[in-house]
Amino acid sequence: MGITTQWDAIVVGAGPAGVTAARTLLEGGWRVCLLDAGERPAPSPPRMDLSDFRQDPRHWRWFLGERLESLRALERDSPKLRTPVAQTVLRGYGAALQVDADGFRVVGCLAPGGLSNVWGAGVACFDAEDLSDWPVSVDALREAYSTVARRIGVSGNASDDLADYFGRWIPLQPPLPLDPPADVLYRRYERHRERVRAVGLTLGRSRNAVLTESLARREACTRCGFCLYGCGYQAIYNAALELEDLRRHPALTYVPGQWAEHLDVGPKGPQLTTLDRRTGERHAWTAPVILLACGTLATTRLVLGALGWLDRPVRLLSQPSMGFALWLPGCLARPYPNRFFGLAQLSFVATSRAEKERPITAGNLFLACAVPLWELTSRLPVPPVWGYRLLRDLVPSLLLGNALFSATFSDHTVTLGQDGKLRVRGRYRPELFRCLRQVVRVLRRGFRRCGAWLLPGSVRLVTPGADVHYAGTLPHRRFPGPTETDVMGAVAGLEGVYVVDASVLPSLPAKAHTFTVMANAHRIAMALYQRYHRA
């Protein structure tokens, strides 16, 4: 192999992709240095039920933040990104990255574990049609999907109507029990399945990276309801947990607080310059292999800077998403549940005959109880007192939904300027709005047949980028051009540099992509290991 430096590989970024790649290389016997911009892990919530915890009036600090950070973050679209925990881990990312975004919200994480600190834990596998633009076959990814699923623990139902959509081949733990409004909806769906599917709506149990059976040190979900704020029982997968395990590995060197500033490839191999966020000093790191996993925009910045690709835009795939609310009159007057699961309970796929039965959108349904009442009230276009009085009785019968669209509906670009600023520009394509009307029609009819009403005025498009579903700036190509990567994630012109995060995805269908990013990182790391050992 001829590697003589201190480490065989440097992995930049300790998010889901970076940790997955580091783990795969460590299991192969490599000496790995993991550089992380994060310093302190996100605070962990208490190990008790949410309904009990919020009986103490002092605990508003936990829910709103010591300085009411959550109240001041109303512009953020996702409730998960408004929690004090999220505010803590997301703070300062845009400034550190020097982003100038117009019509696009940049979200990034500066804590160990990356965006898995605030993810929705949704798991979906890309199928053959989703991978049609990829130079990678389904079979090549299938094993990676299974390995990663076994490691992080995925719960779900392998035999419902969405089993094909999510992928049948990954090992699954039993699904979590459904909570009242979702349970009522799903029972009615099962009773009227054919009628609902006839309008193009299919329902199934969600696939989540949440344990229903304990795995290693992680405990099974207790349905404490704290999911929005993290998991005290560690049932929800977080890369920071895996990082804790990895840090005990003798071949791993973990260096926190290192912000990757500059990448260069010289005669001695790739060299990375980082800024120590604690001391303000700059350090240089060299290794035969550098794996970039510091998030789509940060990785793009490093690669474009190293290639000298300045003032020339590259495409950014950004999935449009929307939110809506469903009301189940049959659940009116039910009490608030004491124990519940706060992430996705049910998933749906909306299809259109014009699109040859391909999903035009897919999404998840959550309990409205999981979202703070003050936050739901803030979304209503009426004075808070009115909103509160309406919602306090309505919330136990409400479900909130989100839906993802394919990234083909958006036109976004990223440009690294001469001045060092990363400019993100773009908009949604006009076709999206036509599609949105179609989707709303399908959802309204379909859910109506399940006994649920799509609340008027509740459908809302999310600001581009706000739910962190973007990728694909350095896509895998069979014959990569400039600013593209080969099937191994190698960037043409940057010998020894491999990209393993979401920036290498060639396409983004209407599915959550984090699980695929982790599987792809595992695939690339395995391929690297095999290539060097064969050599």
Partner: protein, 401 residues
Amino acid sequence: MTDVGRNNRFLVVTGASGYIGRHLLDEARLRGWGVIALSRRPPHRGDVLHIPYDLRHSLPEWPSMPIRGIIHLAYDASEKTVSPEREVAAAEELVIRACQYQVPFFFLSSQNAGLPTRYGRVKECIEALVLRYGGTVVRVGLVYGGYRAGSGLFWQLDEWVRRWPVIPFFVPSPRVVPLHVRDLARWLLQAVDMSVYGGRRLFLHGGVECSLNRFLWHLCRYRHRVWRLPIPVPLMGARGLTRLIVRAFPRLSWVAQRIEGLIALRPVTVAGVEVLQVPGRSPADGLYPTGSGRRRQWLREGRRVLRRFLGRRVPKVLVRHYARACEAAEVGHDRPLSRRERMLLAIALVEYSPWGPSRQVYPGASWIGLRRGIRLIFWGTGTLLGYLFHRFRDPDPTVSG
């Protein structure tokens, strides 16, 4: 004295153990000033350099330090131990020392300087002397607030309100210009730093001018939280009364002079006095024990807002947390919480409390269901109308459904 040696700028303060002196010392130490305190009694703080000083004796020497200014606050309030000539001579020694050090000299005078009383005459003499040497004369109205120290006019009023079930209601009421003691201390320190007021006679106006009756009423309401019966007192009668006191009890003449000075205040704008507007606070805020009315404002608002959400008597603990949250939100942010955000905060506090909707038990009685149904229809209709109004006013292409 603990760390005075580490400071690179020092202030000499006479009368440092008095009411204004104590607050000035606190403010100076807070802002990193080293202080040389000249007073008969040791000052209340251990981190200043104390040099015993009595107006009857000559000015003592102090160690060589980088002095930036001298503030003269000392005055014999009892008017028994120090003669008027000695008061003037002591002031002259101080102002000469300031000239030797080439530092600004500030003399704290009164709105009543120049009145035909002993107090007024002495203050006027010292003022003339200070101006002759290029020092600054600072006249103030009614200095109030802070913590109890000395026996100044404010503390005599305070004592009255605390002890007696009635307060005088002067007819007509004299006007006072209240200035909070911390605002005064803050301005004095800034003035020493700027040193641009040499040779001027200034009247510090905190932006508030009110009747003495109103001030007394605020004292009852905000400082002592008590109700006192106002007794109408004709102003002329009060003057006659003070003269009688002077004749009957000559030893209490200084008290009578204080009362006289209070009810016969000189107007703020007199010849040779510049009125200087300084940042001040309203008496309603300044008389509050914390010196700020913010907490009280939040408590009141919290009680009112939370009641709208709870629909019942609001537990005190919830109101306290509302006020604490509002205060916490102001730290480190340039923008205070908007009204809408405070309403949402109230919802959050109710939600995260034992009285929140998640703890409500819904009895199965049909009339309760009916009541809630009517309630839902009412608020649902309201919300729908609000939504339609919002939509009509500001059409949003991304909203549909």
